[in-house]
Symmetry: C2
Subunit: 757 residues, 2 copies
């Protein structure tokens, strides 16, 4: 194992200027790095102890003693650790040193390469499997049961030939009348949908509760510096992969985009474990996770650039340029590997490719603005309703019956959906067809120029029903994304508006509004309205801007419509923000009370640090001198504080440092195993040692944060928040002229914020 990784936090920060108040001889100086200074021991058997000293130095809490579950990480320490590792690495001489440096620099790229590849391959497998399961609702392949319809009928021309290998359940059961056919299909649709959903719910409940939902709120929280163990582990990866195939094939109103991002992040968590550099550094790990999130969007929508921007705009907390380039690379690799796997056999990365030959007209901006307003309203309403339902689900008896609930919702959805053709098909197919222009082929009467009203009405009904069903579904204990259902709702509504405007133009071509239309031919492109509508609802629900527009491009390839889409998304965001400032993910984060410090919200308070801090009277403070192993041990047994400020002495209360509980624990355990150490051995946290001779003492300084960030007690609270946010701190100490007054931890502060909001 690479020994640079075992560099202690505190030692890192003190390298170079350690002041020696005693035993400051050159010999000792060189040895001092050990930190474990025991004058008498060193005198007697210097060589023997040397190994021990190194061990004591190397094995730092920052590396072995990991953060506890559900705690916040300390970015600043993790980066300091990484920098120290880098420095150490660069001190190596010779060819081997150079090679080590080179390999170290490549490690990050290798990891994201692997994560990108894994995400792409996983996404392809999921696409193929869920396609097959989805087709199973209608029939099966006679030649090989494991083939989906498209592969089963490979070689047949879709429009002309009848595919004989594909046996529908009708044929299998030899339904005689049209009514029997209808009921057979209906029944199989309901049965298979519910079966898939139930299995998924059962798997999630039994094996991996973390697999439920989209996972994005949790990923945001994790990237914000919170530790949730197992959320990105093997079990989640396996169960969620299976679950997402099942639910995507069921009739539930949910998408597989969110879960795909979660799965990519699982890869981004598991793969870097091979490298100690990432394994033992939570901050570095988060850099890979940001890249993995980009890869997730890249494979979910075939939108590599959109993925990078999504990672930047929506989920990531700390996004330096290095991470941007890695995300870019990771998303690219994921897209390439998906393209080479080619699960849809279209050879294209663009999912819902549209080719419109008409430009948009200025007057249409009015309708696009209308769609934007509707999207914003939809977002605001949906978020409120969904959160209400979710809160009820969490707090009521319903929480014990998560599988039953899925069964009920699934049956309900299947019954309703089958009756409306626009709800029956899976949302991805629906969106693709709603976006499509009426050139060469019709799709369920959408291009019927005589009867406009039937499809318009059906679309409106579909969008309204889908709205309620989705609000009910998102939050069930199954893997579930919200993007595609939202887009489907917006696309239905948008296409309906488009059809209406089209009809209006058809019947009143001379109306002043249509003056800019060419005198002959079509003027309105309803497919474009569907696209704009989808962008509006998508924006209303997530409140993304730039990344959303780019995702829409990459999804449709319709670059000519950049301006309408931008305007709509902006309006949708404004309208949504007028109701609530938070998108769906932030809403879920708030509901689940995750400690996430939103970088988008600006806090304006009239509060000072001294009013928020935990006062020194309520803290346990360690004095730099006067402790023994025994007294520290007792301290740990009696109180459960997560960390302790260290002061010079109880009288002057001058701040010396800060030691976290886990580091203290570890250092004590370590020390007790040393020869010659007893429970009464004195422990020091300072260089100003009393003159003891020949007695064995333990220097805790290397284990202590010797340079904690301090603020004055008059510091305004918003500045403290900025410090936490931008520097990624876990705690700050409040002092006045060097004197310790109190402590503010990230969690304390967030509790305060939540209370005020």
């Amino acid at each position: 194992m690479d020994d640079f990784t075992f560099k202690r936090k505190s030692q890192i920060r003190s390298t170079g200027s350690r002041l020696f108040s005693r035993s400051d001889t050159p010999r000792n100086r060189s040895n001092f790095e050990g930190g474990y200074v025991s004058t008498s021991l060193r005198k007697h058997n210097d060589e023997e102890f040397d190994g021990d000293v190194t061990e004591w130095t190397m094995e730092g809490t920052g590396s072995r003693v990991a953060y506890d579950d559900f705690t916040t990480i300390d970015w600043i320490h993790d980066f300091a650790k990484e920098r120290a590792r880098q420095r150490r690495l660069h001190q190596q001489k010779g060819i081997r040193g150079k090679l080590n440096i080179l390999f170290d620099a490549m490690e990050g790229w290798i990891v994201v390469l692997a994560v990108g590849l894994a995400s792409g391959i996983l996404a392809a497998i999921i696409d193929i499997t869920s396609d097959w399961l989805s087709d199973l609702k209608e029939g099966y392949c006679e030649t090989a049961f494991y083939l989906n319809r498209r592969f089963c009928c490979l070689g047949y021309d879709d429009e002309q030939d009848e595919c004989n290998e594909w046996i529908t359940w009708n044929t299998a059961l030899q339904a005689r009348s049209a009514a029997a056919e209808f009921w057979t299909n209906y029944l199989f649709y309901i049965i298979f949908s519910t079966l898939f959903a139930t299995i998924a719910a059962y798997l999630v409940k039994t094996y991996s509760p973390y697999s439920a939902g989209s996972g994005i709120p949790e990923i945001k929280t994790i990237l914000g510096g919170f530790v949730i163990r197992k959320f990105l582990g093997w079990w989640t990866l396996i169960i969620k992969s299976i679950g997402v195939c099942l639910v995507a094939a069921s009739s539930l109103c949910l998408g597989k985009e969110g879960p795909l991002i979660h799965l990519a992040c699982c890869c981004g968590n598991i793969i870097p474990r091979i490298f100690p550099k990432f394994r033992y550094n939570e901050a570095k790990k988060r850099e890979v996770l940001s890249a993995a999130a980009a890869a997730g969007v890249s494979v979910a929508f075939g939108a590599p650039i959109g993925g990078v921007l999504f990672s930047l705009e929506e989920v990531s907390y700390y996004f330096p340029f290095r991470t941007m380039w890695r995300s870019f690379f990771c998303a690219m690799v994921a897209a390439v590997s998906l393209a080479f796997m080619n699960p849809f056999r279209t050879g294209k990365l663009v999912l819902f490719q549209v080719v419109y030959d008409r430009e948009w007209h200025a007057f249409e901006l009015f309708f696009f603005a209308l769609l934007g307003v509707m999207g914003g309203l939809y977002g605001a309403l949906f978020i409120r309703m969904n959160l209400k339902i979710a809160a009820f689900r969490r707090d009521s008896w319903l929480r014990f019956f998560s599988v039953h609930e899925v069964v009920v919702v699934s049956v309900l959805t299947s019954i309703v959906s089958y009756l409306n053709i626009f709800m029956r098909v899976n949302p991805s197919e629906l969106v693709a067809n709603l976006f499509r222009e009426c050139v060469g082929g019709d799709y369920h009467n959408l291009c019927n120029h005589v009867n406009h009203w039937e499809p318009t009405l059906l679309l409106l009904i579909a969008s309204i029903l889908k709205f309620f069903l989705t609000a009910l579904t998102f939050g069930l204990k199954v893997p579930a994304g919200i993007w595609l259902p939202s887009m489907a709702i917006g696309a239905c509504f948008g296409r309906a508006i488009g059809l209406a405007v089209h009809a209006w133009h058809r019947y009143n071509p001379d109306f002043w509004l249509f003056a800019s239309c060419a005198p002959e031919g079509r003027c309105i492109t309803p497919g474009m309205y569907a696209m704009v509508g989808a962008a509006a609802t998508f924006g209303g629900i997530t409140r993304m801007t730039v990344s959303l527009v780019v995702i829409m491009f990459e999804l449709t390839g319709a670059l000519t419509y950049v301006l309408p889409i931008m305007i709509t998304v902006m309006i949708s965001k404004w309208v949504g923000d007028a109701f609530d400032k938070e998108g769906i993910y932030d809403g879920w984060i708030r509901m689940n009370e995750y400690p996430f410090l939103d970088t988008k919200v600006e806090y304006v308070y009239n509060t000072l640090a001294s009013q928020v801090m935990t006062r020194v009277e309520d803290l346990i403070v360690i004095t730099a001198t006067g402790h023994s192993l025994d007294s520290l041990e007792k301290l740990l047994q009696n109180v459960d504080f997560k960390g302790f400020p260290v002061v010079h002495n109880a009288r002057d209360m001058l701040l010396t440092g800060y030691i976290s509980r886990s580091e203290l624990r570890y250092a004590i355990d370590k020390a007790r195993k040393k020869p010659g150490i007893s429970l009464s051995s004195p422990c020091y946290f300072s260089n100003n040692l009393p003159l003891l001779d020949d007695s064995i003492f333990i220097d805790f300084q290397p284990w202590m944060d010797q340079t904690p960030i301090t603020v004055s007690h008059k510091f305004p609270m918003e500045m403290v928040i900025e410090l936490f946010r931008k520097m990624g701190l876990r705690y700050v100490l409040v002092t006045n002229k060097g004197q310790l007054l109190g402590l503010i931890t990230k969690k304390d502060m967030m509790n305060k914020i939540l209370k005020i909001l």
Copy 2:
């Protein structure tokens, strides 16, 4: 004038917890906000003094006393000021208060709307003017001299009709023979080119030296928090607008994209001056500038999203989400207004629209990678060469002859360029034609299937000559961008490679490499190679990634080629970075020694704060008590430090605060105008006042930064850099247990960094 803007820095930070060591009565407390506490005066005429107190409170240095030219701004103070203004605003009651709040919230959007509109209109005017000037090299419009060729010949079909209104110089001079025609054209080309360039150079030299170059390095520096007065002022706007039209019409190898960004930023600097909120807050001003930079790219390339990302990735220093949304909006407005002005009469925002009907093949990735490598090499070479030339220009006698130099380079360029058709036309037309596929029309033999070698050779020559000419030209004292010339060089090279591969496939269709090509029809799309080549050189020179790919999309609309472009850009960046880590703008920033703290570079030193700081012995420190107006006045006269730490007393050296020179100056001047104040009046920087009765004293606390950010002397230097970068500090004070040890300013630190690098 809005009085919220006159809120003092230091008062802001102390609101809420001021401790009163004396005269702490309820009456005084309410008055204390005045800061100017004069016990005796207050006793006598409370009412009369009240007005004065308010004035003293309102008129803070943060507002009136602006930053000096060529100094760094203090983001943290500016944001604190803004927050205090916000708080004050929100305290207003009633409908008027609500309206004020609403208007204040809208102000930011109104400003970016205006900036977007102005940028769009300005860009349209520049496009039209430079088109006209450019056509003037060939001839003039008979019906109206101010029309360019396209408008002059409006109504004529380009391909069939001869446009009689457009008189070429040939016709005007009645050239008889082909040789005479050639020489006439050649001569007019040289004369007009040089004339335009010379006028531009003269204008720049005489009226506005800041108009030279692309302006992007300076904008980066300004956005990083440096004050360069007049760089974004009216004169720059006017002269650079005229200059860019002239040089774009000349034959010099430069583009107008960089200057357009600079001009948009000028709008973004001038327009917000109307609003005090921006006028008096340098940090807020920079938020508008970020949006303006996005608008600049938006109009330069018709790439609104690319603009936002450019602003984010390349130029902006501080880019919160609020700024991202505003940039998005600003870029959108700019694009819409440009589209409605429609200077090219194409009705399209997409500048170099391409429509390829062929997919790319996996084997082509090899050639794209080759183009990426070439792009990276080009970038590295170009930057080195260009910086060498620029340094020579700056340090030698050449700097006195900037106009003459432009004349020489212009004549040279014209002579060389006219002889190669690919160099003769302006780069924008060239790039558009090189990207275009061979469908319906040829462009100078590019689609000639018989003779591949002639155009290939011409393209290669063009790309090599353009490389040297551009390196010579970029840095001349005329408005000059580097983007389009770079793209032109890459497009020439790429198309040449494309033609070569195409020829190879044509003569050896059975070669194993081409196995994936369809048996009949064309397989290679040389236009795509040009596009990829342009992206590679563009990337090599600027080292942008995400924003570059998005700009390429928006420029060409070719979304199918996202993967080849991404791969090429990544490789180009890697190859370029292997030589030098810096892009062209960073190179210029370094050469000009601008104080820009690059957010992309990671500094790994083994240094501590105590080793970098200016030690307290070398500083002038003010004690909290014991000063009089006279002694402070003398202090200011005798030393020219920019600021002074304040300590409790000379013995304990406990840090109390920090006061900058300009604030101290202002406070003294202010105080001297008060009645009853004499030169011997005592001045205090602390609440621990000695018990004086009835004497008039001046409280300097409100003018002092009472909560300066402090770090421990053992703090590692990289952490200090992070603090400066992320919190936008101007200085930190180094303490040990509350005792002042030294001071680190941003400038000091950057000097240290420059030395180490």
